[in-house]
């Protein structure tokens, strides 16, 4: 074990020679005698005073003292266990640290940082200075910059600020710069901290040592491969195989930052590439704004969705009168019902619709269009719009119409009616070339009237759906960039019962999802950066110092300081540029020249034993003192024992009991859901920190409370989140809470469902739960918090009370009892405040705030502070409101 123990100051060990001398001195020089005035001196006379018993100083005491000395000497010789090799290159000059900080370095960045620190220690030990050379261009000017030469301590600060960038390394510049540094400075050792990706041999030639290992340098790249409706294929690529299968988690996030899906992937051990299908509901897919590899957190593991999966807003063209109508027979009604589940549907006049960013327009037959309108509509289609038309009597009456995929025969075909023998037609098959291929065809759909297409060779190709007799029911054709689809029957039930079938809904949705989305048909010249990824794959607004520029969509995207991966555009129209999509195949660092020494990132576990040894010596010294005192009779043996007990008792064992009365404690009611309890705890703790920071009130802690058994009256404020699984209150619990409220306590009920909007709506689960829970408690009459309420001004001036959500109403007691200082005893809201107050950066307990972000979190803290201050100070602040009047009266 001590085979690799070295001493940094071995000369100190010579002092060990002094230990025997000390031993001898301890024996020769006796301790100072204690003087006792003694009465029975008479008996002492004539006794042999020089008599000594055999064991004078106990051997173990001498050993103890020697150990103290030895420990101190050894400690100051600075022993180091498992020492790392000293850096070659002597003690002069500089050490050049070439550090990869491109996108791939983000994998296991912490391990890298530790290695940097270890190297800096070694550099410091060898008395040299350090020059850094990061290999990826700086975000502020897009160029490489070296740093140094600088002493290792200052280098530490620089390294701690160094972050991986979400773009590749620039090895060409790095080689040039490294050569320049070597020419200008006396570099005695060069080490290259590789990210595992291939580096040019010119760079390796400059290097004496290489730090790399497969487990640290294993970046993952996420890429979308295919997209079918409903299923999206992804591939994950990595640099090295592993020993065991790697379980990975891919989280799908919404715009608001809520986790929509958690995909678990098992990356096979012997592979570097793994494809998988993300099979999810269309609703989930539509809401997803980004997919993120949970570990390692890096830019290449984030897939930003941009617009391609997004909701396809659909417009239904209607006249002004139709717009208002809620007629069951109107075509717009059926269309709207078919589409609104998955799409944003707008029913309006054409001129209004064309101003909106829509991906598809639906033109029912009942909506007449002027010739001018038809021309603009055609222009819109030519630019990439998707038009779906329905046939009807109006279309049948028209002789000429350009907005059609096929030529139509004039007049309509009527298959069932007073004047015909024909039976209503059933649906036929869907041809393979049809975009609708794969949808199930119901057998019970019958068409009584249709418009017939002029037979031509193209008609067959343009047919998307046909009747059993082979006549087309749905035809579509491309017109420039756009598409026009005609359904040869009515959108409503007039001509067929198609509108009642599942196919009606599915085919419409399929068609809408085929529409290219809104950004394609409007060619924007440039897209400014909206949200950019950092090296760890976190989205943030562009840094004002960065040199990021707008992107021209027609130019090829290349991740660089100028254009980092991220979302470009504006909040309405944007496009995502993912790092993974633009990376070449991963190529690992190979063919390392034999002259280069290679070492892994893993720490060698160097341990400096100086401090533990000094601690041990001090403890021994204390023990020695106690024992000596005891031997000289200064203190009793019991005291020695007591001291030993005190020393041996761990400090944690003597944990202080909370003295709830001595300070302010906030309480929360526990639920059966541990996640919510943890959020409540973290939230109140975070709020407490803010209160301690900003106000003179000192919150000492947070307690979890069970209303049944805990004494509530210690707490000025109790936070009570609603969950669906809370049991009804027992009689004892209800009485306890009632007591608390009647004694002037304050409870804030949080239904936590602000995203559903409004707790006054009894339908939300939180509100139902609140009603169920509180039926045994007498809740006083409530009002929506008035603008001059104490909660709006007890510390901060507020006019809203957001939590994780905002906008919900806040209810307070209508007429608070003057016995309780007119402080409201209950506050009811739905904004999930604890989630906003929660500060814990780890895991998932820090929630994203919607829609206001950090600003909203700040307001949430302010509300929390107001709440606590209100609970603590009562009407004091309310009285402050009257100060102007009081001053006025005093003036009189």
């Amino acid at each position: 074990m001590f085979a690799d123990l070295i001493f940094l100051s071995p000369w100190v060990l010579t002092a060990l020679a002094a230990v025997p001398v000390l031993w001898w001195m301890l024996r020769v020089i006796p301790p100072r005698p204690k003087t006792i005035n003694f009465s029975a001196f008479f008996f002492l006379k004539g006794l042999d005073t020089n008599l000594k018993s055999a064991a004078r100083t106990p051997w173990w005491l001498l050993l103890l003292r020697s150990l103290v000395v030895i420990f101190f000497i050894v400690a100051f010789a600075e022993p180091v266990l498992h020492p790392t090799q000293d850096l070659p290159g002597g003690t002069r000059g500089e050490v050049l640290m070439i550090v990869d900080n491109g996108w791939a370095a983000a994998s296991n960045w912490k391990t890298r940082e530790d290695k940097f620190h270890e190297y800096l220690q070694k550099i410091q030990r060898s008395g040299r200075t350090v020059v850094f050379l990061p290999t990826s261009p700086s975000p502020t000017d897009g160029r490489l910059h070296s740093y140094g030469p600088t002493p290792a301590e200052k280098g530490l600060e620089w390294v701690n600020r160094l972050r991986p960038n979400p773009w590749p390394a620039d090895y060409t510049d790095a080689v040039t710069l490294a050569q320049k540094i070597k020419n200008e400075h006396p570099v005695t050792h060069t080490v290259f901290f590789s990210d595992g990706l291939a580096a040019p041999s010119e760079l390796l030639e400059l290097v004496q040592a290489l730090v790399t290992d497969d487990s640290t340098n294993n970046p993952y790249v996420l890429q979308q491969t295919t997209q079918n409706t409903g299923q999206i294929g992804f591939s994950l690529e990595r640099l090295h195989t592993t020993v065991q299968d790697t379980p990975l988690r891919l989280l799908a996030y919404s715009d608001e930052g809520t986790v929509l899906d958690d995909v678990k992937i098992n990356f096979p051990a012997d592979k570097t590439e793994h494809g998988f299908i993300w099979d999810t509901l269309p609703e989930v897919r539509n809401k997803t704004s980004r997919l993120e590899l949970r570990d390692p957190p890096m830019a290449s593991g984030v897939f930003l969705v941009g617009t391609q999966w997004r909701q396809h807003p659909v417009g239904i063209v209607a006249t002004a009168e139709q717009k208002e109508s809620r007629d069951f027979l109107s075509e717009a009604y059926y269309l709207r019902r078919a589409l609104e589940g998955n799409n944003q549907v707008t029913i309006d006049q054409l001129e209004v619709l064309l101003k909106l960013p829509l991906s598809a327009l639906i033109l029912p037959d009942s909506t007449p269009l002027t010739a001018a309108e038809k021309t603009t509509l055609l222009a819109w289609v030519r630019q990439g719009g998707f038009l779906i038309r329905f046939a009807g009597s109006n279309l049948a009456a028209q002789s000429e119409d350009t907005l059609l995929p096929v030529m139509l025969r004039s007049g309509q075909r009527t298959m069932a009616g007073a004047m015909t023998w024909e039976k209503p037609a059933h649906l036929g098959t869907i041809a393979e070339q049809s975009p609708l291929y794969g949808l199930p065809v119901p057998q019970d759909v019958t068409v009584t009237r249709q418009l017939l297409a002029e037979p031509s060779p193209e008609t067959f190709e343009k047919t998307w759906l046909q009747l059993e007799d082979g006549t087309p029911l749905m035809t579509g054709s491309k017109i420039d960039k756009g598409t026009i689809v005609l359904i040869h029957t009515s959108a409503g039930p007039d001509w067929s019962n198609f509108c009642y079938s599942g196919l009606y809904v599915e085919s419409l949705q399929r068609m809408v999802s085929l529409s290219n989305g809104i950004s394609d048909h409007k060619v924007q010249t440039t897209l400014p950066p909206l949200l950019l990824l950092d090296g760890f794959g976190r989205l943030a607004t562009p840094d004002s110092q960065a040199i990021t520029a707008s992107i021209r969509p027609d130019h090829e995207f290349e991740p660089s300081p100028l254009t980092p991966p991220g979302i470009y555009g504006n909040s309405q129209e944007f496009q995502a540029f993912n790092l993974g999509s633009y990376l070449p195949r991963l190529e690992s660092l190979k063919e390392v020249p034999m002259s280069i020494t290679t070492e892994p990132y893993q720490q060698t576990g160097e341990t400096n034993l100086k401090l533990p040894l000094i601690q041990a010596a001090i403890i021994l010294l204390l023990a020695e003192t106690l024992v000596t005192f005891w031997l000289r009779g200064i203190i009793a043996f019991a005291t020695v024992l007591l001291a030993a007990v005190i020393f041996s008792t761990p400090a944690t064992a003597a944990q202080e009991e909370k003295d709830l009365v001595s300070g302010i404690y906030l309480g929360y009611i526990t639920t059966s859901d541990q996640t919510i309890d943890r959020t409540s705890f973290n939230g109140l703790t975070g709020l407490g920190e803010e209160i301690n920071k900003r106000t003179s009130a000192k919150v000492k802690g947070v307690s979890a409370l069970n209303p049944e058994s805990d004494q509530l009256s210690y707490y000025p404020l109790i936070y009570w989140p609603m969950t669906e699984r809370q049991d009804e209150l027992s009689v004892a619990a209800a009485r306890n809470i009632q007591n608390y409220l009647s004694q002037g306590g304050m409870i804030i009920f949080d239904t936590r469902d602000g995203q559903f909007g409004g707790s006054q709506d009894s339908a939300t689960p939180g509100a139902r739960q609140l009603r169920k829970l509180t039926q045994r408690i007498q809740i006083p009459e409530l009002i929506v918090v008035p603008s001059d309420h104490i909660l709006t001004r007890s510390f901060y001036l507020l006019d809203e009370f957001p939590g994780r959500y905002s906008g919900g109403k806040l209810w307070v007691e209508k007429e608070p009892s003057p016995h309780h200082d007119s402080v409201t005893s209950v506050v009811i809201g739905d904004n999930d405040w604890a989630a906003a107050w929660s500060k814990d950066a780890g895991d998932q307990s820090r929630y994203e705030i919607e829609p206001g972000g950090e600003r909203q979190r700040e307001i949430a803290y302010r509300f929390g502070i107001n709440l606590v201050m209100g609970a603590l100070t009562g009407s004091y602040k309310a009285d402050q409101v009257h100060v102007p009047y009081i001053l006025e009266r005093i003036g009189q």
Binding site: P30, P31, R32, P33, K34, T35, I36, N37, F38, S39, A40, F41, F42, F43, L44, K45, L47, D48, T49, N50, L51, K52, S53, R56, L631, R632, G633
Partner: protein, 283 residues
């Protein structure tokens, strides 16, 4: 002064308990009713001694008519013979007595004894002072005031009359010869006595450790004694201590006196009972 006053009051408290003690003694043994040490024979006294059948020559005024009336015989009432005796008290005031407050203890004991004796009708004197032997309870105050005059073990002032008693309370940490000459002189005059040796447990066991420098409190100017290791001489010390006690016992035995060892750890109440019992038991 306050210290002494305190001693007096504590002594009073101790003595105040004694009537109860006397009552208890009365219940246990009929022998003594009055005084600390009744003669245990018929004599002129106030305490009842016994009823005896009338005999020829008994004075008719001695007949106890009540007893006679109860029985068929004539009974004569006899009282116990009592004689007041002078008890000379002494407590050692040397420096060594200050060790562990032995002197205080001794004074409490002495005064309590004085109270008891005075209550019992005895005459109490302070050895080596000019105070005349006192009678009556009120004399305690005077005894107490003269206590400070008692500095050495000498028979100065009033001579100890023959057939009286002496009670010496001291640690006797001095050569036995000094004591024996003094005692033998008294004993030759038919004076009975009691030696009460007071010691603290530290003096008995020498509980110190290691290197200790001992300073003689009796003679501050003398050279201190450096003991290299107390543990080594402890047993020799204890032997000497016990031998001294045996010498004291032998001395008192030889004179027909009594010897009592008292550790300061003994409760004064217990101590005084011990002394009292020892006083009243006649050999």
């Amino acid at each position: 002064m306050t210290q002494n006053n305190d001693n007096l009051s504590r002594a009073g408290m101790l003595a105040g308990r004694l009537p109860g003690l006397l009552l208890e003694a009365e219940r246990v043994a009929h022998s003594f009713m009055k005084g600390i040490h009744g003669r245990r024979q018929v004599g002129t006294g106030e305490a009842f001694w016994q009823f005896r059948p009338w005999q020829q020559g008994d004075a008719s005024r001695d007949i106890d008519w009540r007893q006679t009336g109860k029985r068929e015989e004539i009974f004569v009432r006899q009282t116990e013979w009592e004689a007041a005796q002078t008890v000379w008290l002494y407590r050692d005031a040397s420096e060594s007595m200050n060790y562990h407050a032995k002197k205080d203890y001794a004074e409490i004991l002495l005064l309590a004894l004085g109270i008891v004796l005075l209550n019992g009708g005895e005459r109490v004197g302070l050895l080596g002072t000019n105070l005349l032997p006192q009678t009556g309870y009120a004399a305690v105050q005077r005894i107490y005031e003269s206590l400070s005059a008692q500095t050495h073990l000498v028979e100065s002032g009033h001579t100890v009359a023959a057939k009286s008693s002496v009670i010496l309370i001291s640690d006797f940490y001095f050569p036995i010869e000094q004591l024996s000459t003094f005692c033998e002189k008294l004993a030759s005059r038919d004076v009975t006595g009691m030696l009460v040796q007071l010691f603290s447990s530290d003096e008995q066991t020498l509980p110190y450790r290691g290197r200790v420098r001992f300073q003689d409190v009796e003679d501050r100017a003398s050279e201190p004694l450096l003991v290299q290791e107390v543990e080594a001489i402890r047993s020799a010390y204890e032997q000497k201590f016990t031998a001294h006690q045996e010498n004291l016992a032998a001395l008192s035995r030889g004179l027909g006196w009594k010897f009592i060892k008292l550790s300061t750890e003994t409760q004064p109440e217990v101590a005084i009972t011990k002394l009292y019992n020892s006083l009243s038991s006649q050999k």
